[in-house]
Symmetry: C2
Amino acid sequence: MGSTCEMNAAMSVWRTLPLFVLASSLCLCLSRAEDSAMENIVTEKKAEESHRQDSADLLIFILLLTLTILTIWLFKHRRFRFLHETGLAMIYGLLVGVVLRYAIHVPSNMNNVTLSCNVNASPATLLMNVSGKFYEYTLKREIGANDVNDIQDNEMLRKVTFDPEVFFNILLPPIIFHAGYSLKRRHFFRNLGSILVYAFVGTVVSCFIIGLLMYGCVTLMKQIGQLGGDFFFTDCLFFGAIVSATDPVTVLAIFNELHVDSDLYALLFGESVLNDAVAVVLSSSIVAYQPEGNNSHTFEAMAMLKSFGIFLGVFSGSFALGMATGVVTALVTKFTKLRDLPLLETALFFLMSWSTFLLAEACGFTGVVAVLFCGMTQAHYTFNNLSPESQDRTKQLFELLNFLAENFIFSYMGLTLFTFQNHVFNPIFIVGAFLAVFLGRAANIYPLSFLLNLGRKNKITPNIQHMMMFAGLRGAMTFALSIRDTATYARQMMFSTTLLVVFFTVWICGGGTTQMLSCQNIRVGVDADQENFIGPDGVERRSTKHESAWPFRIWYNFDHNYLKPILTHSGPPLTATLPACCGPLARCLTSQQAYENEEQLKDDDSDLILNDGDITLTYGDITVSTDATGAHTSGTAVGGVAVNSDEALDRELAFGDHELVIRGTRLVLPMDDSEPPLPLDSHRHRHKYETMS
Amino acid sequence: MGSTCEMNAAMSVWRTLPLFVLASSLCLCLSRAEDSAMENIVTEKKAEESHRQDSADLLIFILLLTLTILTIWLFKHRRFRFLHETGLAMIYGLLVGVVLRYAIHVPSNMNNVTLSCNVNASPATLLMNVSGKFYEYTLKREIGANDVNDIQDNEMLRKVTFDPEVFFNILLPPIIFHAGYSLKRRHFFRNLGSILVYAFVGTVVSCFIIGLLMYGCVTLMKQIGQLGGDFFFTDCLFFGAIVSATDPVTVLAIFNELHVDSDLYALLFGESVLNDAVAVVLSSSIVAYQPEGNNSHTFEAMAMLKSFGIFLGVFSGSFALGMATGVVTALVTKFTKLRDLPLLETALFFLMSWSTFLLAEACGFTGVVAVLFCGMTQAHYTFNNLSPESQDRTKQLFELLNFLAENFIFSYMGLTLFTFQNHVFNPIFIVGAFLAVFLGRAANIYPLSFLLNLGRKNKITPNIQHMMMFAGLRGAMTFALSIRDTATYARQMMFSTTLLVVFFTVWICGGGTTQMLSCQNIRVGVDADQENFIGPDGVERRSTKHESAWPFRIWYNFDHNYLKPILTHSGPPLTATLPACCGPLARCLTSQQAYENEEQLKDDDSDLILNDGDITLTYGDITVSTDATGAHTSGTAVGGVAVNSDEALDRELAFGDHELVIRGTRLVLPMDDSEPPLPLDSHRHRHKYETMS
């Protein structure tokens, strides 16, 4: 999605807006008219110069990322786990920030021209008549009266400053989409109930806890005269909302490398993905809280309800939009033979996914949220219709975009700590914030876990709860939300504090994951799937049948019997599932493959409802409705190697690793990382051989 | 590269420039001070509204591309060859343009505020004091006094107008890089001499021929009073330069589908790739022609020489930069074990390639040209160091970017015919231009072919010359160059005419390719490689030994014996090629694989110099130093299937198709399109089966 937003960025900038002011032709030009030819040349030179400057500035970031990549490689090569690449990117960002701030000094060449104007509006486009020549200006932003003087000083720093919307329009979408696209995993569905509770209830709880605590902190500051500006309760709630979005990418990467218990993994990842969405919508609906009357910061039931309505409306709207485009893509890929041309298929997939974002933004919903659910739908349905090449291509494409965007954001975080102009570091507020974040996380995890355990057969043990508590890192989403608006004093203080929270959690919590795992003695080196049928976990496994609540079972049956067959080539033929009356319809909707594969094709969430044939059934999934392994099997078939169940298990494990990689792909060891498996195996061997020789 | 430029676009826009004006605090605000809170809300609403509008506008383009993709699929499905997808994209663009122009009418809500100002400069950033609130404005462009009135009317049309620089910073780089990256082909090197002559001499010749003819045409127009503005000789030359860049993507796609004689293919493609680069630099150095004195349009030897110097300097500088970053990437990928982590490898490859562009732009060279040569270097050296996954990933990534960018440009071309504001369609000029383009192409192909035939053993037959003449389509580069600057009357007339030239050539010449092929009875269905050793072509093949001139043979030997071993894992160990004195150096530079593969690894340009063992040697290449087939062999090895020479030949052919795909991937039949071969085969069978059943 990131790459796709470039036009958006470009466009949103290079188009002009309806409103504009026409410069009066009766402009009193006291200045001497300059030679027009010379003037033009000067303007060209200016533009050229600025373009070169842009390129140079951007080059800084590219080199930063390149440096990060090389260092990551070194770390992985040395099996060094204490610093994740995102933490590394931040450190490099910090260093560059320091250099830009203190080392480089650009003489700011500016000529102050006195402009006496008489306007009663702030038009989006301004036409100026300068000594007979017309110049078009576009409104960039409003500037606080106090910043006016800053602007002259720090041109160099402002050069490397992006418009915050870049994060929402360009960098976040690929990250979020990739998260949703990688989310299709048995363990996720097995814990869906708990994940939803943590994501929705938990986020709201932590938002309000943090909000209340910060309000107390702020009032205290006001008492002792530490507060330099307004700080309303809505601001506190807003702060609570933005720091409630967890992003444990570091932890997940390590989990994934150490093969930590996959239920814990699923819980953490599922929560982090969904609570991003919740936090975005929550914060926007808190901002939308606008009571009538002069004092716009009193409590008012109506406004409160309105905000709540906005929350529901925006969230469900984005959800529906995301699902819709996903479904459309699935239908298109199913009923065209587009799979014959992987390039077209991939391009279509890419464009449709991007259009989700644009559509949601155009309708006033939240593009990021829509993209998340679009990704999940694509993974659940469309993915099964894609040709194996396209499956690989799409996965690899979004993996790459995710990697680049994520590391860019984190390095920018580091940079901005020094280059941002209006930091407000307030010790009391910072301490209060850290405390509030801690307590908010605690109030999210422990009570909810207790409640969930009442319903769960395989309990969420205290150790796991502590681990989840510890893994409440804050990351890209929190940063993007906090940098989005730094106009007021309150927002500036929030931004500075948020930066510190992110740094602390990513470096300390992220770095301490392995220690935490060992001191909580949480099982590592668990085979994601052996637990399905071996040893004590066999119990745990069977228990999931009862665990999965009836709404989910109903949904699963509906999905497996109707949606999957309608939207994909997999699942049972509709002729078998639909009542006889709909025979013709069923026939025209059911694809050829569905009949052919009627036996072998199964849905790989099928273990939501388990039976004794579950294990073989699981292999049924793997050999067909998954990319890597799908390619693998066909490949092997051509290779003429029989597929015996040992291989299938082996493959399933590798596949488990691969699929679980999610946002943590980077810390996976070589043999887990590469896809599709067939080349993978061969290279694994070759690499082993190389390292041996 | 495209996706990579998003930040560039974003950044180049959201940073401010040093120069700026400070609004006087003694601003006479006669307008009533508005309520600040309300004001803020209004501003937010405005920004939000505009953002939603952006998304909606952009959505138009996405849906356009989606529609194009689906239609292309239909065409390919029906083996319909008369309309290429780029032509299709243009048609859809035209339709949307008509709708936007005539159907939709947006009531432009503008309030004209009288602004009496007193400025003696056009600052890049303008600070306005509007009733006590400061607003920052950025300089967008200078507007001709006559356009001032237009602006009010056509907001809707200007909404869908991009800044021309978008094409150079975002859309062209991926196209050009992909061209360079796909250029690694035996037949290209075999015809390198001729290609260079066509690209350099040919482009310059056609540029000046067209320039002179247009100057005649323009003077004629001036005589009969048809000329509405200045039109200097430099403008004519500029026009000659921009329309001299050929882009036969349509023709190449059809060639590739019909397996046309691969020498013809190599000549056409090589020429089109290189003359893009020549045209860019040529046009920029023509623009740089600035004689001293008042009359800036007289001939002046010094300025002429200066322009020539600029041409050489910029071209060689971009060339060197592109090579340099390519070499750096090759070294990094060789001496790190990055290949264990394909994601990191791909990301690094991507970032390094992008940094070429930025570096070139920052140094004042031409990014697009640098990117071209970077792509060629990456393909020639780095590619051999990449892991098979990364080889696929990078190829597929840039293939996708190229596809999207190309179709976007062509659909935008169609759109802009109706949405562009300042078209100047002059019948005489248009007729003259078509004539000049035709004659310019003729003056390029026929004389040069005659001269080249004096030196070539396998002559360029008249039929092939006619075909090349016919295949002189104009495309993306011509459009991008002509839209870059439409300020003056001359440039506007050029732009309008260029659009028509592109439409005509793409639709008529592109559509008539198959007929032209048959009426010129040029061999189709040629196996790219059989001709190397079967029948009369055996002669032709052997003849290439003598054909390849000594400078190329020297270069080849140097490359094969020193550069390849130093920069890649392939080629003979340096210990074998370097003199004994450099033993230690050679040992530390030679990689393990080089020893291991000493026998099997060969360079796949090796048939520049041929010997009797050439054919087997060719197989040596295929099985190792090429992506698809490389993966294939290893895969097959795992699959446990022996690699006999028949398979190798078969594979080589498929590979030939694949590699030759170049910019024409889209029209290739399924079996030629997908990669890597092993999955390909399996799917091909499956698809066949599906279509049968």
